[in-house]
Symmetry: D3
Subunit: 309 residues, 6 copies
Amino acid sequence: MFLSIEKLISNITPDRLDPAAAKALQEALGGQFGEMRTMMQYQFQNFNFRGNAKPFRDLVRGVGTEEIGHVELVANTINMLLDGASAYGGIATQPDTLPLANALNGDGNIHHFLVAGQSARPVDAAGNPWTALYVYDSGNLVLNMLYNLMLEATGRLQKCRLYEMSNNKAFRSTVSYLIVRDLAHEKVFAKALEVLGVNWGKVLPVPKIDTSGMPEVRELESRNLHNQQWTFAKDNSDMAKIFSGPSPFGDGELETIEGLPDGFAIPELSERAEEFAPGLDQELLGQVGKTMTSPSTTGTQRASAARNT
Amino acid sequence: MFLSIEKLISNITPDRLDPAAAKALQEALGGQFGEMRTMMQYQFQNFNFRGNAKPFRDLVRGVGTEEIGHVELVANTINMLLDGASAYGGIATQPDTLPLANALNGDGNIHHFLVAGQSARPVDAAGNPWTALYVYDSGNLVLNMLYNLMLEATGRLQKCRLYEMSNNKAFRSTVSYLIVRDLAHEKVFAKALEVLGVNWGKVLPVPKIDTSGMPEVRELESRNLHNQQWTFAKDNSDMAKIFSGPSPFGDGELETIEGLPDGFAIPELSERAEEFAPGLDQELLGQVGKTMTSPSTTGTQRASAARNT
Amino acid sequence: MFLSIEKLISNITPDRLDPAAAKALQEALGGQFGEMRTMMQYQFQNFNFRGNAKPFRDLVRGVGTEEIGHVELVANTINMLLDGASAYGGIATQPDTLPLANALNGDGNIHHFLVAGQSARPVDAAGNPWTALYVYDSGNLVLNMLYNLMLEATGRLQKCRLYEMSNNKAFRSTVSYLIVRDLAHEKVFAKALEVLGVNWGKVLPVPKIDTSGMPEVRELESRNLHNQQWTFAKDNSDMAKIFSGPSPFGDGELETIEGLPDGFAIPELSERAEEFAPGLDQELLGQVGKTMTSPSTTGTQRASAARNT
Amino acid sequence: MFLSIEKLISNITPDRLDPAAAKALQEALGGQFGEMRTMMQYQFQNFNFRGNAKPFRDLVRGVGTEEIGHVELVANTINMLLDGASAYGGIATQPDTLPLANALNGDGNIHHFLVAGQSARPVDAAGNPWTALYVYDSGNLVLNMLYNLMLEATGRLQKCRLYEMSNNKAFRSTVSYLIVRDLAHEKVFAKALEVLGVNWGKVLPVPKIDTSGMPEVRELESRNLHNQQWTFAKDNSDMAKIFSGPSPFGDGELETIEGLPDGFAIPELSERAEEFAPGLDQELLGQVGKTMTSPSTTGTQRASAARNT
Amino acid sequence: MFLSIEKLISNITPDRLDPAAAKALQEALGGQFGEMRTMMQYQFQNFNFRGNAKPFRDLVRGVGTEEIGHVELVANTINMLLDGASAYGGIATQPDTLPLANALNGDGNIHHFLVAGQSARPVDAAGNPWTALYVYDSGNLVLNMLYNLMLEATGRLQKCRLYEMSNNKAFRSTVSYLIVRDLAHEKVFAKALEVLGVNWGKVLPVPKIDTSGMPEVRELESRNLHNQQWTFAKDNSDMAKIFSGPSPFGDGELETIEGLPDGFAIPELSERAEEFAPGLDQELLGQVGKTMTSPSTTGTQRASAARNT
Amino acid sequence: MFLSIEKLISNITPDRLDPAAAKALQEALGGQFGEMRTMMQYQFQNFNFRGNAKPFRDLVRGVGTEEIGHVELVANTINMLLDGASAYGGIATQPDTLPLANALNGDGNIHHFLVAGQSARPVDAAGNPWTALYVYDSGNLVLNMLYNLMLEATGRLQKCRLYEMSNNKAFRSTVSYLIVRDLAHEKVFAKALEVLGVNWGKVLPVPKIDTSGMPEVRELESRNLHNQQWTFAKDNSDMAKIFSGPSPFGDGELETIEGLPDGFAIPELSERAEEFAPGLDQELLGQVGKTMTSPSTTGTQRASAARNT
């Protein structure tokens, strides 16, 4: 079973709206090497785990549970880049305005506006829907570890390429966070293989990417985030039996941490009339709003304010 | 963020191996109306939630988090039906035996043996891989609630059909559990629509399925499981602002319960040599096994014993 | 625009239930060379027709409209082969019976029982869903005619192979009808190419299949059905400007006929409780049934009777 | 069986060429909630109809037949937006001109130019091919009605979003027509559910979209088009037994009308040499043109003239 | 078996970088009528060839082997259009530069930059991955020949449309080469059908495209390339028993040539640091480079120089 | 460019017909880890190779060219298992026989009979068509080598599972050959990584499968086939700069061999009338057969004879 915690795993730095960046960032969500895939792949390896090497299972389960939070993080970041990308004009009073005309610009993903109401979709940067064909679980532990290492390494490569595509701060804060976590996850699986007998020598991390020009990444690494792994488990986990000792990449000491990090407030999205979203009219709002809603104006205003700065 | 709890949401009654039933049960895992879909659909609706009607968001988040545990439950049940479906003969000593010959029987899914090593796959009963095309999130709250109601109702219809396909107790214990939980989830979304103004009259639950001939279902309903909804949240949830009062189907009183149920031990799968799974040979086991594994023999033996009874 | 006529284009000879034949016949419905494809391909060529060669457009439109009726015919035939393939036992009174156990037999398509309630699905014989990737419309008239000829010829080849797979009379009556109509449609497009300058010489029909061993086919050809083409148009059609004169295959005289054939009664499917289909319980039936339904018992009884003969 | 009528169900107001709008409008043709899907879904529900509630079948059949005409309407509208979007330069005399260079602009769909010769394709706005995975037919009448209602409501939501994307008059005339017809179809299925016992109260239509700022929509509603349903059947239909009385949305009186509306002339597309379409050269035209073509110059000239105004 | 020859089948004229042209050219690589498809289709027809008409098999095998070289040619051409489309800035020294920002431009395919490191992908111009659904092999020789003719003709039509989209010389040199080879291949299959009895009369080539305005095409045809077919076989081939005599299109004499053409040097792609490709850092290069690499600087410089001219 | 050699890379031991084994073997042809995938993946890595480390390119090119021959081998083996799986009865003289009735047996793939005329298809063992989504080419050399190693290792795992499914000698001869070649290819990529700095220690080969109970495999290894790699290149190749020295798995000495192995005669498939394949009737055969065919009766008879032994 799983439990939700109403916190985001990393903070999204507010910045300008950017539908083209939102489209690109979909690769990290629904792409072949994105977070939906790592989440599903590790969960299937967890559910189907075979044999009594419990530390390996705890390791796969822990990382797989972190990935659900990564899916949440990327979806929220895409929403921050999209929400309001249409300039609302009000169709009732200005019939000739085109509040969603931006959607026709080929730089973005038209489905963001037409299907999803300016929010994230389970697709990649080219618009292809995520497919379970991506999920790898061979039943063989060594192969699974090797594949997972390659998966994290490719994911990190693509995120480094994403980093170079846009300097949008919201985009980069999440991309940088994922670059560092993918590095930590590479170590998780490299370490697992090391326990099983591989001496990686010179080729790790794969690829050896110089991220010294990415200040957001350096800042996170300065806090040792690239050597830490939370268990994301309520119960005891044997993850530390594998994830400990010197980093297989020779860049510090691995730390297994019980539980999960503190987290950050989840951004709130306000109503967006031109998308008929959420589609609660005054009459319905009258009933529902009064009796049930929490006062969330502050959060919304903060998010809006941040963008306009 | 999310946290894993090392417990299964429902108990799987041990029974005979049954690859044909395992193949059928895949519909409840990777089918168009299966648990991977409800999980992903509700999580996307959660991440992309718009407007300040927090109780609705908490409701979608809570059910969506329960669904991750359902994916886990169905995967484990499929594994119980599959694991050992090949009679291991040992290729080294008996070169002419065919330990995986069962896989050629058209009643099962050959990929269960060939690709996954006798465990669950992210596909439906006809072998089609799960696709994100299934995920519905329109950005419009009322439409989302209506679609979710229809989704749960169709899921429940298919599970009632599954119930009639096999009397395997492992199969039926999980199918029955899901029939009852789908009913509870139907109520979640029907109640949400009721709050928004629908008076359902005669047509609910949709379809009106007589489950009085399904004793496992009745037993679970006698414990009011069809009227309960856990929040599956670590923090406070406003779910109860919607999910309370009389059932929209007139069959009891709705209960929102903080947190999650107690759960059951997760079954363990032993090594399966004919699948080269997990593929840790003696040399590797020598090193890994001694230092890291937990004593899990009891659990494994219990599971095996149960099957042979 | 289009108008529906409550008649089936060909008669389905009653015979035994046969889920394996139903699965095979799906190729003629949702296969790459099945009726959904011809229908969609010709309609797209019709909607996108370019240039003022109206007789060609009328020809494509006419055949394309006939194909909608072919989709209807094949779907109804599949239903005749499936409906009742489960032996209904009544779950309320006999909890241990397994009314849908047949669905676990690998010879059939499990989705027929699990998803569709014993009726047709938009998939092929291997269970792959129909995809619009099949639709060919190049904008170039000659290429379209050539492709259509090849499409009909391949469709006919596959139906001749189907004929050899089962001697079920319901199955064969529809397969034979389609073999003859595909031949007529081959002539439609071969004739169109002939008008444009091709002298086919020896290779038509492609493939040159000897159907003299298929009595149902011969009987239909004895009525010249392989040389006829209805316009399936309410208005005047110029189809006859192309489809007339000697058959390009040297086997008779082509006839263009205004309108559409007389047709046959559409079979009725009765309620099927084990599928929860149609899912109208007594209470709802009480209201709906009394005020609205037509007396259709006769038709249903006839269909049932035919099967039991 | 079906019959074609050489008329378009709604008039397309002539306006400027607009490949970006054509790309967007593909969602209404080949999208998950577009007309190909409603057509196929209702036809499958029609072919597979079970039980003796004939009025429900007639209702599904009637709307499903109307939808074939909607597919035709949207395809023709896309063609009006595309045809001539390349400026023809004549490759023989001006070898360096690039008549199809517009196709490289990311705002349009390159397949419109490269594959289809400036006409409609069976894909959605993001270029994904239509798939039969979209078709829902559970065999359960109540669920089918509920799903159809949700389908029409989502289709209408997306069309309202389309309306806000472009003020192209050709685009908007068809989008507006579909918004109104989707509303009528929502009522068809809402009414069906009402007959079965649902009292909808406040949430219908779902979503409650204020279309008062869409003058084309208002104009059509002023003619009661949102409360009318033709039977699109040649024979008697029992549709009126359900579709009559006050609108379930409280906005007028429902009318079932026998047959089909008058319709409008289908636009003609002239030859487009840069696409090699239709590809009849002078020699072939010499033979075919003289003997077979109808004088259609007037129609073509009118269409061209309208665009140049 | 197959043997590789380190030569390109046609020369790529150097010209400017052009990601939009690269995206369009993908249709000729991974499109429904592109080179991956012809290659796979003919190879399957070759492997599955039935009956003793060896000349037909040799013909299919020869053309199918040429097509592997066409896949290589188109991939290399796409690479020439892409490689360097990002202006490298060096992330270490200039942290704010965006070397891959071009990728966000909707005119190109973002996966070219994000997934493939500025090189070719197995997808079409709209980004859809190639699928084996395209492969046609009916087992029937005549149908296969007819389908192959249609396939080559449609491929040529699309390449003629591509020709009109861009005057980039690299793009056009390959497109023109393929236009001529597709014509030769049309003749291969038309001739095969002619041997079997078809007199094509007026409609060939289909479509009759006037390429007199395409000088690159004329130049190649002046060398009779449109009437030649290499056997691409190391052993004797009976291809000439079919491919000889007058062209079925009346434009010259067919020639079967043993073996394969001379070919051209394959372009070399240099390291591209902003893509982390090839990802060999100095340390690795130190070891690998010194001992193993051939001096290829000349080739690389030539390619670069050509572009800058 | 590429050249075909009319030889099969390995010999197929004749044995009984076996459609279920043919269906299973499709995984090795069109599966996610089958030969079509390795072929396409390595060819794309070859075409898109970047940087001047020519030995790596030659290595990828050589293995990628071998894989085309593997596709040929598996297709031919499937054909040997299928061809004649229907017992031909002759429809003209015995109208009630069902020559293709075997196709309705769920153990086989119905498309083998219905679509392909008893020959191989580009699909996997579950019938899913091959998709280019499988192709991995990141542009990063180290990642490509790592992925290729994992790909070969998973392919070998699946083939070892296949080995255990059937003792059909034709099936096993090809499966065993591929097990050994996949091992050699694992070494190719492991060696490449070793050159780059990895010391694999205990975990190679991955997985460590004990094949001592597979006599066909041992026999091939006794000839050192698991340590050899042909260049499959007509020209000089630098492959030996990497592939030489001790095996990274400590089981012998690596050998790079110029060119390609001798090969074996390609089996011939005779006419199959019940599939209308090849569909050349007497009249056509009269003309074509006399003038063009080679005397191949001997080969055909030998193949048939082998089966009947």
